[in-house]
């Protein structure tokens, strides 16, 4: 039994709650039932409510005593889903109340997935639990070990669970896959099978072993685990790191001197404690592989606070990093990356844990190879394969952005739209219009590219993918296919939807039928003519002679020097700007918009030409909004519609300011799509001049970036104007407030510093 060091208690922030002690699978590699420690036989089948309450009380007390900003509770077993939905609901409620009253709580659940059903998912969703599922690869790999007691494999059951976790209502539950390695399995097939389940993360687990009970090493390869993992590592790099793999990210991080984030690697502080079904504290589960009783502490939530666990020698030694490793490890050149491997894997009878890992040779080979492969991959990367322009953040943060920088952002946005479009089909199933669209792409890629550049394709796709956003409406695909076909001059026949009499062909034009008509329709386009057969007859349009056809409104192009924007007044998907869009423009309204935009562009070119390249490169569409009844200005940028902005018509001087202001939001939004400027988990808020309420960090960043540009306009327009003073004060105050939070990432701090330097430059 471990002894107490008697010193100062350490904070422990991860608690593995064994809510159920039995499992519905009989995997022969399970450390709980099949390895040295057999204590499960004497423990209750499930954690009682009294034990749970005691455990939660101890966790909450510990969080308060150490002012923990975050506590992670891992709901575990056995198989935790054996609790059933009702009891799971009750238990999660018991956990959340006391802990959330004192700190932030992250709840995860690790399961074999066999019993995952919508009813259970609803419970987990309600409590914000993220779900990790164990899967060892393809059918052959998984069912090599993960079998029921009758010998049948669990693969199909697990895949059904994963399909549920990929579905729109439950996607946010999906945390990742845990794969236990068996070197007899083909690594590439395992990798591909795991990837096919689209997990947010994968973690590979070396099978638990000790020097007393070494791992399987078939064949002549002295380091088969390194060989196996390196095969996947190379494939993962070549594939563009399509999924996060904790082991590989840990290897990369430790190579750069950072932490590993994993028990298997590095010398990070280990701050995990397990609470068994009977309330006894135990050390990490993996110790069950060492010897019977290895994880035991002799302490219980019923009688001891968490601090007593943290004082135990066996726990304290794992707080000391490299110093706590064996002498052989401490002298090893890769000790900072390896960290001695998983604690349990160091065990040898008579020597305890004061040894290198039984996987020492594999870890050394894996580290050397992965370092080399990562370096080679990095040096051969080009911009086309995902390298980021070195000065991207600096150029955007300066407030401007040249054509090349913004052009690069535009390309990223196009790829995002393509990915979301594909994901929509992956989620909801292919339609004939999708097949038309993809067939067209083979022969007319430029037409597809032009249509998918329409800003509202992304906002439509996001609506189809967002949980809780109602039934999917895939008819928009028909509109996209029709638009692409018309652009390509090729005949097409697709299903579309009439919405209040309107059928839009993004980037091409809009067919306006009788208002009030809604429903499915069949669109045919051939030789410059359109026919839309809907619920109330057929509407036709002659695209070659639009002026003679009141039903057909070609896309309105407003030329502005060497570029131009489209006035979008037809696409129903444009209604994502908070304000109600204006309806179809009449001739007078169109003239007014053309004039205002032309004059506004002249103002921008004359007053603040530094903002012109970004607008010229990125802005495609302006959506007229209904005017505010009070005459107040209205303008908006939608985060999921890069390349567009919406505004109510106003005078050219004011419109110039609105264009500059709104497109700043678009630029920053595009940057935020690609990288984190702030910690999304931060609850920091800042006071800003333009709103009376405290603002979250992203809102403050967006506001200050846009208002800095407005200040710049007013500085040039009239340097002593009150407007300039007001916007400048808002900007400088908000920059100071943002710097006062701890929410900015290093990239975010760089962004704010560059923005501040721009503003300070005005004053000098």
């Amino acid at each position: 039994m471990p002894v107490s060091a008697g010193g100062v208690p350490h904070p422990l922030s991860q608690f593995v709650l064994k809510v159920h002690g039995r499992c519905d699978l009989s995997c022969d590699h399970c450390y709980v039932y099949e390895h040295a420690d057999q204590s499960w036989r004497t423990k209750p089948r499930a954690m009682s409510r009294d034990v749970l309450r005691a455990a939660v009380r101890r966790i909450a007390e510990h969080a308060v005593a150490h002012a923990l900003p975050l506590v992670r509770v891992i709901v575990h077993g056995g198989e935790p889903l054996l609790l059933g939905p009702q009891r799971m609901d009750d238990y999660l409620t018991e956990i959340r109340g006391p802990v959330e009253a004192v700190t932030r709580l992250e709840l995860t659940l690790q399961t074999n997935g066999v019993r995952l059903r919508p009813e259970m998912c609803d419970v987990l969703l309600r409590h914000g639990v993220r779900v990790g599922v164990s899967l060892d690869g393809d059918r052959a790999a998984n069912d090599l070990h993960r079998r029921f007691a009758n010998g049948s494999g669990s693969f199909d059951h697990v895949r059904a669970a994963l399909a549920l976790l990929r579905s729109r209502p439950y996607r946010e539950l999906y945390a990742g896959l845990l794969c236990t390695i068996d070197v007899r399995n083909d690594p590439e097939r395992v990798y591909e099978a795991l990837l096919a389940e689209q997990p947010p993360r994968i973690d590979f687990l070396l099978p638990h072993a000790t020097w007393d009970d070494p791992p399987l090493r078939p064949g002549d390869d002295p380091t088969p685990y390194a060989t196996w993992l390196s095969t996947i590592h190379r494939r993962w790099l070549a594939d563009g790191r399509p999924v996060r793999v904790r082991l590989f990210e840990g290897l990369r991080s430790t190579a750069e001197g950072g932490p590993s984030g994993s028990e298997q690697l590095g010398a990070d502080t280990v701050d995990v404690v397990v609470i068994e079904t009977d309330g006894r504290y135990e050390q990490a589960d993996s110790l069950k592989t060492a010897y019977d009783g290895a994880p035991a502490t002799g302490l219980s939530v019923l009688t001891h606070p968490v601090d007593d666990v943290s004082r135990l020698d066996a726990v304290a030694v794992r707080q000391t990093g490299v110093r706590g490793l064996s002498a052989i490890c401490r002298e090893c050149p890769v000790v900072r990356q390896c960290g001695g491997g998983l604690y349990a894997h160091r065990y040898r009878s008579g020597h305890g844990f004061d040894n290198p890992s039984v996987y020492c040779a594999d870890l050394r080979a894996l580290i050397d190879r992965s370092n080399e492969e990562t370096t080679m991959h990095a040096t051969t990367q080009s911009e086309a394969s995902g390298a980021v322009p070195t000065d991207l953040v600096a150029r955007i943060a300066s407030g401007f952005g040249d054509e090349r920088t913004i052009g690069w952002l535009v390309e990223q946005q196009r790829s995002i739209t393509r990915a979301l479009l594909y994901a929509t089909i992956d989620q909801h199933g292919a339609t004939p219009a999708w097949r038309t669209l993809t067939d067209l792409e083979a022969d007319h890629p430029d037409s597809i590219r032009a249509v998918l550049a329409h800003p509202y394709v992304r906002s439509w796709a996001v609506d189809q993918l967002r949980p809780g956003s109602g039934p999917a409406t895939l008819s928009y695909l028909g509109s996209l296919a029709a638009a692409a076909a018309v652009r390509a001059g090729t005949p097409v026949e697709v299903d579309v939807e009439i919405a209040d009499g309107v059928v839009t062909l993004p980037t091409v034009g809009t067919l306006h039928g009788p208002p009030g008509v809604n429903g499915p329709a069949r669109l045919t386009a051939e030789q410059g003519k359109l026919w839309v057969a809907g619920p109330e007859g057929t509407i036709t349009a002659d695209l070659a002679h639009p002026a003679a056809d009141a039903a057909w409104q070609p896309a309105r192009w407003v030329p502005l020097d060497d570029w131009g924007v489209r006035l979008e007044d037809g696409d129903p998907a444009r209604d994502c700007h908070r304000w109600t869009p204006a309806g179809r423009l009449d001739a007078a309204a169109e003239r007014a918009w053309r004039s205002a935009l032309t004059e506004a562009w002249r103002w921008i070119r004359a007053e603040v030409p530094g903002y012109a390249p970004a607008l010229r490169t990125g802005l495609q569409v302006v959506v007229p909004l209904r005017p505010d009844p009070s005459g107040a200005q209205r303008a908006s940028t939608a985060r999921d519609a890069f390349g567009s902005l919406a505004a109510a018509l106003t005078g050219p001087e004011d419109l110039a300011v609105l264009l500059v202001h709104e497109f700043q939001h678009a630029k920053l939004g595009a940057l935020l799509d690609l990288c984190d400027l702030y910690d999304a988990r931060s609850e920091a808020t800042v006071m800003v001049g333009w709103r009376p309420d405290p603002r979250p960090v992203e809102a403050a960043l967006q506001g200050v970036y846009a208002h800095a540009a407005v200040a710049d306009v007013w500085r040039v327009r009239d340097g002593n104007d009150q407007s300039y003073a007001k916007y400048l004060r808002w900007t400088t105050d908000a920059i100071a407030a943002l710097r006062g939070t701890d929410a900015l990432t290093p990239l975010g701090a760089e962004f704010v510093d560059t923005m501040a330097a721009t503003v300070e430059g005005w004053e000098s």
């Binding site: 922030s13 991860q14 995860t108 690790q110 993220r130 990790g132 599922v133 164990s134 990929r166 996607r171 096919a196 689209q198 947010p200 993360r201 994968i202 973690d203 563009g240 790191r241 399509p242 996060r244 990210e249 840990g250 990369r252 932490p259 590993s260 984030g261 994993s262 028990e263 298997q264 990070d268 502080t269 280990v270 995990v272 990095a378 990367q381 080009s382 394969s385 995902g386 390298a387 980021v388 322009p389 000065d391 690069w408 390309e411 790829s415 995002i416 393509r418 990915a419 979301l420 594909y422 992956d426 993809t438 792409e441 083979a442 890629p445 999921d640 690609l674 990288c675 984190d676 990239l747």
Partner: protein, 57 residues
């Protein structure tokens, strides 16, 4: 233009692959990664601050 290598802290690497792939051939896992970032607002920050318990999260 000078470039730096994409890390897991940006979305640029999967996007590069998607941008050059025909729609029907986009890989589901690459698209899923974009969905998690754009729709689900998944953070790109690598959280390796503590040695996380060895489970799939």
């Amino acid at each position: 233009m000078k470039t730096v290598n994409a890390t897991t802290e940006t979305l640029a690497e999967p996007l590069a692959a998607i941008g050059s792939t025909p729609l029907r051939d986009i890989r589901a896992e690459q698209a899923a990664r974009v969905v998690r970032r754009i729709v689900d607002k998944e953070t790109l920050l690598r959280r390796l601050d503590v040695a996380a318990f060895q489970s799939a999260h």
